[in-house]
Amino acid sequence: MSGLLIDIQDKTYSVAGHRHQAIANLQLHVKRDEFVCLVGPSGCGKTTLLNMIAGLDSHYHGKISINHSQGLPTIGYVFQNPRLLPWFTVRRNIELVFAEPPPSALIDSLLATMQLNDVQHSYPERLSLGMQRRVAIIRAFAINPDLLLMDEPFVSLDAPSARQIRSLLYELWQQRPHTVLFISHDLREAIALADRLIFLSAAPMQIVADIPVNIARQERHDKTKIEAFHQQLLIGHPAINNYL
């Protein structure tokens, strides 16, 4: 079953009076509950694509359809910076995104999974960046979205923090599978998380390789398996080196 269908003919915008084509003829199909990683060079238009899917940018030619049950599709978006409202506590930031009264038990369980129970009544500014990112991930998961967009959620974190949040995210996703589109610059991170890797070219962005990750889920914590897949990928698809 389809989770997300993207068919964009053209996305162009103006930079200092010059027209810049960000995306040209991009077709992507993401299955329901599939975890897809987008890997591509900086500035190729990955964030632009996520913003278009989230409905933040509607100036493009093409079509994006998200599988959903009723009304408008719900989207959980983990931005590059956590974007938590500083005047609300951690818990209020999560509760805010619910249209109906927020389910306390669900929020409690997500906070426990992400090890944030103790700071739920703190204000975001008093938390480390890693903790803020975990709150942003909970906020996105909490609404049980039809689609989860994640734009480099571990960027600018130190390696141990990134590793810890990655494994917590993975645990959360296994508990509550969702269709995920995840942007990463870190190929090993992408291999550890994704069902499929989509390699993207520099602008105008196009798909240059679509590679399934055939490592069993229970073996993803095994660094040697990840490293072996990484090496195999670079040997089998030398062109992707240009896009990393």
Binding site: N51, L56, L72, T74, F79, Y123
Partner: protein, 253 residues
């Protein structure tokens, strides 16, 4: 040190400063010995008599009623227009000159024109105050609306928070400092304008009374009424604005 002792200790410089001002005033009044500078005790006596007779509460009430109406209208209307101009570049460019013109029209001119065009009516008086205050509110709130955090607005949009929730929880907290600034400057400006409005065309209120005291050269009454009004504004600051500030800033480090 108990909490109440600590509070007194903190307030001590302010109390001493006020006592010094009173002392200077008393000393000057004693040296000059002139009816145009009555001593603090004499002003206090006049103040008490005006309160007991009901005259001061009546006129203070009339002025405060005008202040509440004109302030509320100016803040609501100015806030809405300010947000609109701050978020809409074309409208801002179109109406910017209007703002500059209205900001520079003297308050007295607006008051006279309102009375000439609409008569010496209560609503003409309030309209004159609103017209004087409105551009200041618009400019302040417009600055706030211009600096709204785009990241937060995008977050609200992507999570489909809706207009009411976005305004209440995302936009309003960011505008709060600007609203407080417009409120403080508004109170200070409006009550000064109201006095002129009352002096020129009303038969009650503080402005009307001050004009009367001026004609009678009754400086003691003039000062007594002035202190009553300043005290009310200070109480609004202490009991309403400061607590609001503290509540809104509790998340800050």
């Amino acid at each position: 040190m108990t909490p109440s002792q600590s509070t007194v200790y903190r307030q001590l410089p302010a109390i001493l400063s006020l006592l010094l001002l009173l002392g200077l005033w008393q000393g000057l009044a004693m040296i000059l010995h002139n009816p145009t500078l009555p001593a603090p005790a004499q002003v206090g006596q006049v103040f008490w008599q005006a309160v007991v007779s009901g005259e001061l509460p009546y006129h203070l009430g009339a002025t405060l009623t005008r202040l509440v109406f004109s302030f509320t209208i100016a803040m609501l209307l100015g806030g809405a227009i300010g947000i609109w101009l701050g978020r809409n570049r074309a409208a801002d460019a179109f109406f910017d000159n209007w703002l500059v013109i209205f900001l520079n029209v003297p308050a007295l001119v607006t008051i006279i024109l309102c009375y000439v065009w609409f008569g010496l009516e209560e609503w003409a008086a309030i309209l004159a105050v609103v017209i004087n205050k409105l551009p200041n509110v618009i400019v302040t709130i417009r600055e706030g609306a211009r600096t709204l955090n785009k990241d937060f607005l995008e977050m609200a949009q992507s999570y489909r928070l809706g207009k009411i929730k976005t305004f209440r929880y995302v936009i309003w907290p960011q505008l709060h400092p600007f609203v407080m600034s417009a409120t403080r400057s508004g109170l200070a400006l409006i009550w000064k304008i109201i006095l002129v409005v009352e002096l020129l065309g009303r038969s009650n209120g503080m402005g009307y009374q001050l004009h009367l005291f001026f004609q009678l050269f009754d400086v003691a009454s003039l000062l007594a009424y002035t202190f009553a009004f300043v005290a009310v504004i200070q109480l609004i600051e202490l009991w309403l604005l400061k607590p609001l500030d503290r509540k809104a800033a509790r998340w800050k480090r």
